[in-house]
């Protein structure tokens, strides 16, 4: 048993926060060596990533549960997501991962200017990603493709007029940010504040990149208008909870839609379509629910068609029936999960951007070297994880049932 004592640096015996900085820059007082500090940070960030994975794990679990329950609804609703936008965003994020990994290398090699450039490139990619996302979100919101409780999408009228201009609202903070940065840049230039100029120049590019992303999204979204029309056919699919057939050809889709309209008043067609499956279920003795529902549906149908008269010899029409029909809540659940997953992911992107701006400032000050590149490395790991999650989100949300 080797007996060693905690080594004591005499300079630490006098209590004080400040004296360390003069001696070893960037080495916190309670660490003994740079390596110990780096290892602590590294383990810390890995543990943090573990929490992030489990955090997203809850969302993936919700996804798996509901996709498992209603695969048809998921496939149908996924038609509303534009694969091109998703693919572009995947590429953009992958590129940002590259620049981030490169940035770590630059920090280790003391390539200060290049490090700042890499960070700026990563930030710009993040901004483009958000710009494209803004197009996606605003487009869906205006169509009423919202979480279950707010879902208002109407296949007969997919693009309702009026309503707020969501895109404007999303862009507003970025526009304000851009103006702010540009204004500050001009002031810095006038004052000849070299350091601020060097920080604000790339930041201007970053904010501008958000609008590049918006533009890119707009082009791809409108370029896909033909595809989008085909997507409209599938709206029926989602609207009718996946019961109707996929209408691959345009005319057939329209026809479906009209059928849907005609059915609106008493709308029993959907239940009819479901009856066959329900009958199978109902034969199982252990499933009284299915049996009872089947009977109830048949009964409802009979009452509605007037073929059976109730006790007092008059058809009783239930005032509730209208609400029962064709609620689009299942499609809504897909969009709930879509918004939760991509929304939480987007929040992580924003948080990552915030931290990287701080790194950009420090990189401009040339603070990092082969002993002290921890912050870059840690943020890099975080950024790669955000990328990693998107790598899974993209096929799970955009590519199903294509």
């Amino acid at each position: 048993m080797a007996n060693t004592a905690l080594q004591a640096d005499p300079s630490h015996d006098d209590a004080g926060h400040h004296d360390d900085h003069e001696h070893h820059e960037n080495l916190a007082h309670h660490f003994d060596t740079y390596e110990q500090q780096f290892d602590a940070g590294k383990l810390g960030i890995w543990v943090f990533l573990v929490t992030e994975v489990l955090f997203f794990g809850g969302l993936f679990c919700a996804y798996a549960l509901y996709r498992n329950l209603r695969p048809d609804v998921f496939a149908g609703s996924s038609e509303f997501l534009n694969t091109k936008l998703g693919a572009i965003n995947t590429g953009v994020l992958l590129f940002s991962s590259l620049t981030m990994a490169w940035g770590v290398r630059c920090a280790q090699l003391r390539q200060h200017k290049m490090l700042a450039g890499m960070l700026a490139a990563t930030l710009s990619c993040a901004a483009i990603f958000l710009g494209v996302k803004a197009i996606e979100y605003s487009h869906k919101w205006s169509m009423g493709l919202l979480p279950a409780g707010l879902y208002t999408y109407d296949p007969a009228n997919p693009h309702p007029a009026g309503g707020p201009n969501y895109l404007l609202w999303i862009c507003a903070p970025f526009a304000i940010g851009l103006l702010f940065v540009v204004g500050w840049l001009i002031i810095a230039k006038i004052k000849k504040d070299e350091f601020k100029v060097r920080v604000l120049m790339p930041l201007t590019v970053v904010f501008a990149c958000f609008f590049v992303g918006v533009q890119l999204g707009t082009i791809l979204e409108s370029g896909g208008e033909g595809e989008h029309a085909a997507g409209d056919d599938h709206h029926v699919v989602a609207g009718a909870d996946g019961h109707a057939e996929h209408g691959d050809d345009h005319a057939e889709g329209r026809a479906d839609e009209h059928l849907e309209d005609l059915d609106q008043p008493n709308n029993l067609a959907i239940e009819k379509a479901d009856l066959a499956g329900l009958e199978v279920l109902a034969q199982d003795q252990s499933n009284p629910g299915a049996r009872d529902t089947l009977e109830a549906l048949k009964r409802q149908e009979a009452v509605a068609s007037g073929s059976v008269l109730q006790g007092d010899q008059r058809p009783v029409e239930s005032p509730t029936e209208k609400r029962v029909t064709a609620t689009p809540k299942q499609a809504g659940v897909f969009f709930s999960i879509y918004y939760c997953m991509t929304g939480v992911h987007a929040i992580h992107i924003l948080a990552g951007m915030g931290v990287m701006i701080w790194l950009l400032v420090r990189a401009t000050r040339a603070e990092f070297n082969e002993n002290y590149f921890g912050p870059i490395d840690y943020v890099g790991l975080y950024w790669h994880l955000v990328d990693l999650i998107w790598i899974y989100l993209f096929p799970l949300l955009y590519l199903i049932g294509k």
């Binding site: 499933n287 009284p288 009872d292 006790g311 007092d312 009783v316 239930s318 509730t320 209208k322 609400r323």
Partner: protein, 396 residues
């Protein structure tokens, strides 16, 4: 001190009927559950008592003043430690096997079990025995397997009958089945006792039958408690029902006949009964100025009602009927749209009865339709007129 209590308790265990330790064993399952319980209890005591003795003995025996030194420096003893790791494991396996065995017996209802459809809602129970026989009490037949198919109309509830040692959550959006076989009857009380209770009830002037006070149902049966065990909001603790175990099928049939039709009872009187049985009383009082969850029925009929959307509606037969069948179509200002629909649960005659009862509670009720009260047929006509209204108008 808890030694004492524990031991006293296990004494009582011998006498299972004794209510201090457990409620009566009234189902096939109860004996199994209690048997497992006492087995675990004995095993636990076998571990706890020696430990407790050592916990008292050691501090007394090895007490030393400050500065004393331990007389042993043993730091570990592998054989001992492995032993006290393995031995509990054996007992745990026994407990697990026995507990799961009993449970799996419970998991699948036997063929041919009598089915009761149960609906749980805030804050009451409704048992559907088929053929329009719906009642808040659960009536079953002795030694006959009964299957309860449960659903909830609002939040989680839990179906709990202590005497049967049975508990199952009722989950909205799902049908959940539980089954049991009652082994102890809850007999009808003697006629004198029943009449005394009826008289006392009459005297008290209570709206609702006080089960706890009379220790019998309004029909004169003893009962077991049925609780809601999953927290469900304001009146969770009042969400109780009562289980009656009939000795014979005939007795059960008789009771079903009794509850399932209005018979010769006048509309308004039957309506009052429904008002209590179907738990309208839980949310709607019949007194002025006593607002519960929903509006009071006092002076409701024949008055103008202000709706949440600003519209004003006259509370006539049609409005009441609609409010029962589709409560969320028109919501009175100041109230939450909480009421479940009673569509399919109340027949037209039931609704007509309720309307007739509401008329008696309103000072405009008599004037509005005196004829209706005199004549059942006319009342039915009113209901018909209400039903004949165009559906579109109501639904919007």
């Amino acid at each position: 001190m808890f030694d004492g209590l524990f031991l006293r308790g296990s004494h009582l265990l011998a006498d299972t009927a004794h209510h201090l330790w457990f409620p009566e064993q009234a189902s096939t399952y109860a004996a199994e559950s209690d048997g497992t319980y006492s087995m675990i209890l004995w095993i636990s005591l076998a571990f706890f008592i020696p430990l407790a003795i050592l916990m008292v003995y050691f501090p007394i025996k090895y007490y030393q003043r400050k500065g004393g030194k331990a007389t042993s420096r043993v730091t570990h003893h592998n054989v001992l430690e492995v032993t006290w790791t393995i031995v509990p494991c054996i007992f745990l396996v026994i407990m697990f096997v026995r507990g799961s065995w009993g449970y799996l017996d419970m998991a699948t209802p036997p063929e041919g079990a009598k089915q009761v459809d149960l609906t749980a809602f805030k804050w009451g129970w409704s048992m559907n025995y088929g053929k329009g026989a719906i009642h808040p009490e659960l009536h079953v037949v002795l030694n006959q397997p009964t299957k309860v198919v449960m659903r909830s109309t609002d939040v989680l509830h839990s179906f709990f009958i202590p005497a049967f040692r049975l508990k199952q959550d009722v989950v909205p959006g799902r049908y959940i089945t539980a089954w049991f076989q009652a082994t102890t009857p809850t007999p009808k009380v003697s006629q004198e006792e029943y009449e005394a209770a009826l008289a006392a009830h009459e005297e008290s002037g209570d709206e609702v039958w006080d089960y706890d006070r009379y220790q019998m149902t309004p029909d004169g049966y003893r009962y077991f408690d049925l609780f809601c065990a999953e927290y469900c909001g304001r009146d969770h603790s009042a969400m109780q029902s009562y289980v009656v175990v009939h000795e014979t099928q005939e007795s059960w049939d008789e009771w079903i006949r009794k509850i399932s039709s209005r018979g010769e009872t006048p509309l308004a009187e039957y309506g009052e009964k429904l008002y209590q049985l179907r738990n309208c009383i839980g949310c709607h009082s019949n007194e002025p100025n006593n607002i519960l969850v929903g509006p009071t029925f006092h002076n409701l009929y024949g008055y103008e009602r202000q709706m949440a959307d600003g519209e004003t509606v006259l509370a006539d037969e049609q409005y009441i009927r609609e409010s029962i069948l589709d409560p969320k179509a028109k919501v009175v200002m100041g109230f939450q749209p909480q009421m479940p629909s009673f569509k399919g649960q109340l027949s037209d005659d039931d609704i007509a009865s309720l309307i007739a009862y509401m008329k008696t509670l309103s000072d405009r009720g008599e004037t509005a339709s005196e004829a209706a009260l005199d004549d059942d047929a006319a009342a039915a006509d009113d209901a018909d007129a209400a039903a004949a209204q165009p559906v579109e108008a109501i639904a919007n």
